[in-house]
Symmetry: D2
Subunit: 283 residues, 4 copies
C-alpha cells in the first residue's frame, strides 16, 4: 500500500533523519522524497511517497504513532493520504465548455485519478455534456437576490457527497467567503491571464488593448481577494499584431484547458502545499 | 541596391495595387511584401523590400515621385531606407554589463548592422568594456541637481554624432520628456518583467513575493508614461518555489539580453511600426 | 463574399503588381496578402484574401479571367476558395481517443470550420464518441489479407461523400500509396515525436531510452516514405529523469492533440502550400 | 562549511534513513536533499547539500567515516565536494566566438563558479578574446599528421593545471578516445541540433533541407560514439519557411550559448549524475 506524507514545520536540524528513521522502522520503503526550506520564513516542507508492505501494522496505527512520536516533537502540520483513496472533486461551470470537456475526458480515460460526484452550474447549458459522461448535473441559478440561497444549496450538495475540493472550470461567478472558508486552499480557479497582469474581468480585451506579445493563463487557489490567491501553474502563448481579441480568446482556450488540468492533477496527486500565499509544487 | 519602404495610411481599396505598380514601373523587383490592416482603427500598414537594378534612376528621384504620385493620393506616412545606410545607435548604460556585452558582441561579429558612435553612462564602471570594443565612452554623472545639465550634454552628443536611435541597456535613470520628444518611438528600453505585470522598480522582488511560476522581460519604446510604451518583444522563463530572488535575477539576465537584442534587431532592420501605442512587427 | 487565392509560380518581376491590379479592377478589396520567395528554388508563393462586394461579376467569371489573363502569363499553379465553402474532412482513427475528441469538440463549437461526413476506423472502440457528436462511424477492419478490400471500401466512402482531405488522428495503420495518390498533400498525420528524430514505431520508448530532455510531436502531410512528408507543425514539451515512458505518453497526448489540431486548422483555413517536400505556412 | 554529496548505489530499503542519520550525528544540517530511483535499472541516486558548523570534526574524517560506515554497507559510488573548492575548467575552441564569450562573461561576473586555467584552440583566431579576459591561450594546431602530437600537448596542459573538466565550446575537432578515457563524463560538448535528430556535420543545413519548424541545441557528455553521449540539456526555437540556412545559424547561436552555459552550470554545481548513458539532473 502506498501512502503520501505532506509535512511542514518550523525549520530545524534532524527532521529528515527523524522522519525517515520512523518510516524505515515502521516497515515502509521510501520511493520518493522531496523537501524544501523557505529560508526567509524559516519553514521546512517535505513530501514522501512510501510503500508499506502487507504484513505491516494497520495504517491507522502508523498515523497515530507518527503524530505522537514525530509530528508533535517538531510542531508539524501534516497529512497522510493513501493511494487507495481517490479525492472527490466538484466541478463548477457556467457556459464555456472547453475546460469541462478537458477534465471529463481525462477523468473518463483514467488519467485523472479523482471522483467527480457532481457538476454545479448557474446555467443549464452544459447539461448534455454532463449526460455524455454520466455525471450528475445540478442547475443552481444565481442572481443577486438568490445568491445566499444558491450558496446554501451548493454547500449542502458538497457536504452530502463529501466533496474534497472544488474546481472552477470557467465558472463566471465570484465564490463567497463562506465557501472559501469551508474549502481553504481547496478551490482551484483558472484565470485567463498571466496574473498579476490583467486581474479582474475581460483580461483578453485588456491584453489586446495593451498590445502585449504574449498572453497567459494562471491557475490558483481561491482566496478572498479576487485573483490574488496562491498560484499553482501558469503558461503562455505568443500573439502578434495580426491577432484580434477573438484570436486571443481562441488561443486562450487551449491555454486555459492545459493550465487548469495541470493544476488539478498536481492537487489530486498531493503535490501542492500552500504557505504565505505561495505554493510549493513538488515534482 | 535594396530599399525598404515603410508605409501607413487610412485603409482603402487599391493601395497595394498602386504601390506595387509604381515599384514595378520604377524598375524595382519586390522581394518582400507584408501588410496589415488594423480594422478597428481603419489603418493600413505595409513593409516592402525592393531590389532596384543598377541602370535605374537615382533613388532620390524615386522617393520624390513616390511622394507625389502615391503617398499624397493615399495620405500616407512613409519612409524609405537604403540597405547601404546603417542606422546610428547610442547605448545608455549604468552598472549592469550583460546587455551591453550582448549588443557589443553582436555588433562586433557583424550580426547587428548598426553603427555605435557612443556609449553614455551615469557611472564610469563599464568603461573597460567600451575600450575592449573600441567604442567612445562618455561618463555623464546624473544627480537631482545636475539632471538638466546632464541631459544637455547627452542631447549635444546625440546631435553631434547624428544618432538615429537610443538603446537603454539597463540604464537605471528615467529619461526626460525632452529626450523622448527628440526621439519619438526611437528610444528602446528593456524592462525586467512581463509587462504590464510588475511595472516600476524591483520587478523581480515583486514577482518573487507574488509567487509567480513564470518571469519575463519586455522591450518597448519609451514614452512619457513609465513602462507603458509600445511593446516590441517579450519573452519568459519558468521559475519555481526553489528559486530565490537572486535566482530570478540570474535567470532574468539571460532573458533581458535576448529580448533587448531581438527588439534592437527588429528596429535596425526596419521591421517595427508604431500606432496607437502598439507595434506592428513584420516578419 | 470572401475568396482566398493560393498561387505559386516561377519567380519573376511584376507578379504582385499584376495580381493586385487584376483584383482591384475586378472589384475586389485585398484584406490580406502574404508572399514568399524560395530563392534557392526560384519559386514565388502568394496567399491573398479578397473581399468582393455584392454588385460584382459572378465568381466563376473572375476565376476564368484570372486564369486567362494572369495565371497563364506567369505559368501559375493556383486555386481560389470561397469562404462559403467548408472543406469536407474524414477522420481515420484506431483506439486512441484524445485526438478524436479534441477535433470533434473544436468542430462542435464551430472553432473548426470544416464538415466531417465520416469517421473511419479499423476498430469499433471509438463508436460511442462518434455517436456523442452524431458523426457517421464506419468500422472497416484491416488485416494483412483484407488490406486491399478495406482500402476499396475506404476509397468508396471518401468518393461518395466527396471528402476533400483526410486526417489520421492516431490511426495505427500505414496508409497505402493508392490512397496517398488520390489525396496528394491532403492526408494529415500526427507523429508522436519531434521528427526526424524517432521516426517509425514506438517513438516515446525510443526517446526515453535515449535520455532526451525534450519530447515533441509533428504533424505532416503523408507521402509514400514513412514519416518523411512535408512538416506542417511541431511542438515540444520538457521531460526529465523523473519521467518514465508512461509519463512521456501522458505528456505526449496533450502535445499530439494541440499539434494536430493546429495543423488541421492551417489546412482548413488554406494557409499551407507544399513545395519540394516542405511547407509554406502563411500567418 | 557547505558540502555536496553525490551518491548512487543499488536500490534497497533504508538508505535515506541511514545517510541522513549519519549526517545528523556528524553535526551536519541538511539544507537540500533530492533523490531518484531508476526502477528499471534498480539504482538509487541522491544529492545532498549539508551545512557543517564550525566546531565539528575535520571534513577528511567525515569522509573516511562515511565511506566505512555507510558507503561500504550499501555498495555506494559516491563523492563529496566542498563549496570552497572551485572546479577547474578548460575551454576548447576553434573559430566561433559566441560560446566562448558567453562563458567568459559569466566567469568574469562571478555567475560561473569555476576557474579557467586555459583556453586551448586549433586556431589562433580567438586569442584576443582570451587576452580581454586574461586567460592563458594555447594555440595547438591539429592536422591529420599532428593529431597525436597535438593530443599529447593537450593532455600535458590539462594535467599540469589539474583541470577537472573540459568544455568544447564549438570546438570543431573530434576528441580522441584517449582524452575521453582520461575525462569520462567530464567533457561537455554543445551540438547544434536537437539530438538525436541531425547528428554529425552541418545539422542546420540538414534541418533546413528537411523543412522542420523547430530547431534545437543539445549539450551532452562526450563518449566514444559521436553525438551519442548522455544528454545534459536541450532547448529549441521556432523557425519557419521565411528562414534560410543563415537564419537558422543566427538563431542557433543564441540557443547554443544558453544550452551550453546551462549544462556547464549544472556540472559546476554538481547537479549531474550519469548512469546507463543518461543523466540525472538535480534541481
Amino acid at each position: 500500500m502506498k501512502a503520501i506524507f505532506l509535512i511542514h514545520c518550523p525549520d530545524q536540524g534532524g527532521i529528515i533523519s527523524s522522519v525517515t528513521n520512523f518510516i524505515h522502522k515502521a516497515g515502509g520503503n521510501i520511493t520518493y522524497l522531496d523537501q524544501h526550506v523557505d529560508e526567509e520564513a524559516g519553514v521546512f516542507f517535505m513530501r514522501l511517497e512510501v510503500e508499506f508492505s502487507k504484513g505491516t501494522q494497520p495504517m491507522g496505527m502508523v498515523e497515530e504513532r507518527f503524530d505522537k512520536e514525530i509530528a508533535s516533537t517538531y510542531d508539524m502540520q501534516w497529512s497522510m493520504h493513501l493511494s487507495t483513496t481517490r479525492p472527490k472533486m466538484a466541478l463548477f461551470v457556467s457556459k464555456y465548455n472547453h475546460c469541462l470537456y478537458d477534465l471529463l475526458i481525462r477523468y473518463s480515460t483514467g488519467e485523472l485519478k479523482a471522483d467527480i460526484p457532481m457538476i454545479i452550474s448557474n446555467h443549464d447549458t452544459l447539461r448534455p455534456i454532463a449526460d455524455q459522461f454520466e455525471i450528475p448535473y445540478y442547475f443552481i441559478p444565481v442572481s443577486r437576490e438568490t445568491k445566499e440561497e444558491a450558496e446554501n444549496k451548493q454547500l449542502q450538495l458538497l457536504r452530502e457527497k463529501e466533496v474534497d475540493f472544488v474546481v472552477l472550470a470557467r465558472y463566471m461567478q465570484i465564490v463567497t467567503p463562506r465557501l472559501i472558508k469551508e474549502y481553504p486552499n481547496k478551490i482551484i480557479n483558472i484565470h485567463h491571464s498571466f496574473l498579476p497582469a490583467f486581474a479582474g474581468a475581460k483580461p483578453y480585451h485588456a491584453a489586446f488593448s495593451r498590445g502585449v506579445k504574449i498572453i497567459g493563463a494562471t491557475s490558483h487557489y481561491v482566496t478572498e481577494e479576487l485573483d490574488a490567491g496562491p498560484i499553482i501553474e501558469q503558461d503562455i502563448t505568443r500573439v502578434s499584431h495580426v491577432h484580434k481579441v477573438n484570436d486571443f480568446i481562441d488561443k486562450g482556450r487551449d491555454l486555459e484547458k492545459l493550465v487548469l488540468s495541470r493544476a488539478v492533477q498536481l492537487h489530486v496527486n498531493r503535490k501542492t502545499m500552500v504557505y504565505n500565499n505561495k505554493t510549493v509544487i513538488f515534482t
